[in-house]
Subunit: 348 residues, 4 copies
């Protein structure tokens, strides 16, 4: 951490800063410059509260140099983290992983039918919301436990893994029981009690980026999971809020190479939420793969106009098929392949 | 809701939209225009999922006309909501209400001492975090239940009301037991299970605006509280995220008159989190009152450089005193007054 | 345009709106709804000033339905615009066009040498700034007219076309004399006198998106060019400003398919300014092509660490070569090809 | 400037950075820390291009410590700049200065009549656009030179000073001839040739903040003016772009105290453009004064519903009158006063 002093800071001001740093238990190193002095705080273990220094006399600004996250950083662990799932799918390796399914589980037949279709087209992970966070209290909130059971049934029939969202501690325990990957949604990225619980749940976690989260905040949210002992964490870029309203969110594809350089965790992209418009999902899905994503999460519905939520951003199955073909070619451009389709499993 | 058709939409496209609206249970009204046709959806009860219409053939865009919130709207209830607290403080009336205190409860003596000071200067509500949401898992997370007990003790000694944040369902029940106002923080504005629980807790709720929340989303979050039967809701503007980094957040003071025109709920401002810098808190606190806020929430610490969190944005008590004087004059410019200081109460 | 009335708007309020619309020379059509009335303004020719209606009694909000741009829209002209350059390069067709070169022209040898290298690798258009808009008045501002002459010399030697930025009316005339494409930079996207002049300059124009421009504003800026008679306009997405600082700008790749659906104009991407970091340029360049861009503008410098501006985002020539190979494969995934390299021309 | 090295940067990497800094003509000072080394660049004169360092091997990030602006900074000149106008109005002192008038000059009678009204209510500076930058090429673009003549006539009749916008170099010369203050609008904040011309025009300049400009960029734009020798610069906060659409822009009132601490230049606020809605102009105007603005720029029109532009944000004269009274009281809360009304002057 670097404490930059004002041009006219007095010797006493500088001593004040040095004293405070020392009192906080760190080393202080004054660095005289051409125009002003800066004081380096040495030995920052990620717990320094800059607020205490910010307000001291003579201080112009406090600049963090060390990042506060640790275990998620590539400096902590150099090799890519691979998240291996029971059906053999590995997230974070050379193979691109495709997660697909409807926004919400609407019924048993619906989810099983779409799972068979998607599985046949090469998706190995099934998405579908059982607990839905909805902006309005009057919107459809999901089937809950029943939805989880339908998802589990679809897994049994297809061999696909299940990823679904948890909204609160009790729900998280249920999701951990039925699903293969626990999803923490954008709205809950900084729901720390939920993160801690997910960190102890014994299942991989898919952590979506918050709507206005910096990369630093996102990695710190992941740090909550690793700090509880869960290292099977997959990040998911799903677009951020911006002044522009031509898409629902602004998909930040630069986040993919940036995260890959800062962290060893795998990162996938969700162009369905990232754009909110069916006709933009395909180009942005392709772009995500080209940018280096380890996988995609795509909403597909067998009858989008009748979807109970997010119909406008759900692909038709035939569009998904076409996308899979394009994605295969793009992956080859950067020396990657799409995960091989699952063998058909015998229905229970 | 207005479904705007493309210039070259066919009759069949228009019929498709009309048919879907009808199937959804609403009335459809085609409105031919000079360049294109629009189809009005009549009877929207706030539950229409525009996604279903967005993706239909020939549709250019779907424009919401009715807002999804209801009970929070001024159209639902014309008169201002007044939130009356046990010590007689009323939020939302002509009197400005001042909430003040440290960022976090750090110890019994600390919170009781500052409460006496603030009470003497005219604050009638004491703030102080017992459960702290921290971006890093390695930062100080609050004293928890012990902190709540210290706050209650400060209330007993001074007569001030207590507002403090709840982070999860269990914590919320504790907060509801000890505090007079349950605070839902910015990071949890869309934590719907927490909102539902707060809606049933039987205590007033202070709902901070999310870091990137639109007014519509904020009012819908409040709607979750009212939908559960809790009408004692106070909104709090605390700054939003922007490209500019000269302050921690960008305090959106226009939100105050905008919310007041759309909703009957009281709204206060938090210039401490809104700026993150002590020297900017005072001018922005004054500005908040001038913009029409029903109150202020201000961080004050008896020794800011030694605060365990957010020291940089905490006022010294003497600065708070000066602010109170200025605020009184500004209130008078718009025909308002600051709530009278509490009578000294006999310690328990 | 739709004028949405308040719930409790009186008949008189509605008549007031109808009267104002009529007075403005348009037709008014009241549309009674379940909760409120809206008044449609029929015949909007793109010149309606919503401000006049916004402030009328009883008006809740004014929603634009017709877009204000015309000649740039796909509704005006359905077929893609092809911008054909003297060396045979066509922008906007099935072939991807690659524009490459240093941020600034630094000297005659520098620009001619890099042009030969880039031309050999498949770029057909040479970029390089002669007039540089710099945030600080103390930064290097470009070689001016001399830089234009060096660019022309590089064109003569390689057959590449030249694109370079104009900053003001006089400079624009010079640029139009020496270059093949006149670039209007992000900072000048709404410099209307400059746009008008460019619209009359008789050379194709590359119009970069402003740092905080909506798609609507960007297309309206292009409309200034078409309104003056210049139809050879190429749009360029170069990233927008956001709260996130991990890249210099946030490259908005969804803008590509969105613009292509709204407008017939070609659109390319500039991942160099869009990210500001060399190591992120390649993945985002690939992603731009996958998203459907008609071309790329890439900064390449033969010695980036010694570049006089923007060295951090300039590729080394060998990186550019590798990118060209990847881009070829990605283009094939969507049925496109990269423009064939220019035949070697005999040096003057 | 601080060059932060990666954790695993080699000695060679560090030497590379030191060598490059030396080659650039500055001193390099390696600062070993607990986890990583940083290299300080000493003697930065505001012209260092961080790009050159950013891309070097082993570099994690480059952090600017010195700001690039100089003459505008309070470190360069400690005392507040006072801009004194021919009619005795002083901007930047203890007196609040009120600029008011219609968005656009629409005719001679209109501007003279409103000037008389506003002058009588206490405004000492008349605003009104003769050259209007309009997002659409089809909107009313202003009366041009004729508008300037009408403004000058209004000045002659009332004694008010005239502030009006210049859009391009030729227009700027005209504006400088007729007006007392040359306005540079938000869209042109980084139109550097225009800024240079304004810097040599011999008249005070009002520089509006760009729609997405950081404080640093804004001050650097002002630096262009001072670097040309013009020290009579007034800054104007007019709102920035954000994700929120409840107001036209988001008025950033924290910018006022922040600018006042960084710079000696006066700063006023424009709540008319800052909100875009008449009913929000008054509360935000009050808030601007409470936040410490040196003045206000307010749109007032004698018949807003018939205004040729921005009618929705124009106050009625009687609203302006009420505002002036409130502003007087608020000013008194912070020890300031509103500039005394002009003496009536004899019409020419």
């Amino acid at each position: 951490m670097l404490v930059v002093m004002k041009h006219n800071a007095s010797e006493e001001d500088i001593s004040g800063v040095v004293g405070t740093i020392t009192e906080m238990g760190y080393d202080a190193r004054p660095i005289p410059g051409g125009q002003r002095t800066a004081v380096g705080l040495i030995g920052n273990d990620g717990r320094v509260d800059s607020g205490r220094l910010q307000g001291l006399a003579g201080v112009l600004e406090v600049i963090p140099v060390t990042h506060a996250y640790k275990q998620v950083s590539r400096e902590w662990k150099e090799d890519d983290t691979l998240v291996t799932l029971p059906n053999g799918t590995v997230v974070g390796g050379n193979e691109l992983v495709i997660m697909a399914g409807p926004c919400a589980v609407e019924g048993e037949r619906q989810i099983i039918d779409i799972a068979h279709i998607l599985c046949g087209m090469g998706a190995t992970i099934l998405r579908g919301g059982a607990f839905k966070p909805r902006t309005s209290p009057y919107s459809f909130q999901g089937l809950g436990l029943e939805g989880l059971r339908f998802l589990a049934r679809a897994r049994d029939e297809t061999g696909m893994m299940v990823v679904t969202e948890a909204l609160d501690p009790e729900g998280l325990d249920l999701v951990a029981e039925y699903a293969d990957i626990i999803q923490i949604g954008a709205r809950n990225m900084q729901n720390y009690p939920l993160l801690r619980r997910a960190g102890r749940a014994g299942k991989p976690v898919l952590l979506k980026r918050g709507m206005a989260a910096t990369i630093e905040e996102w990695l710190l949210a992941a740090e909550y999971l690793l700090a509880e002992g869960n290292h099977d964490v997959i990040l998911c870029e799903r677009g951020v809020r911006s002044f522009a309203k031509h898409t629902r969110n602004l998909l930040d594809l630069a986040a993919i190479p940036v995260v890959k350089s800062l962290s060893h965790l795998p990162i996938i992209a969700d162009p369905s939420h990232g754009t909110g418009l069916r006709s933009k999902v395909i180009p942005l899905a392709r772009a995500s793969v080209a940018a280096g994503a380890d996988g995609l999460m795509i909403e597909v519905h067998s009858d989008p106009p009748r979807a109970m939520s997010d119909g406008a951003q759900s692909l038709y199955p035939e569009q998904f098929q076409e996308l899979m073909e394009q994605v295969g070619t793009i992956a080859s451009a950067i020396g990657r392949v799409v995960t091989a389709p699952l063998e058909a499993v015998t229905p229970v």
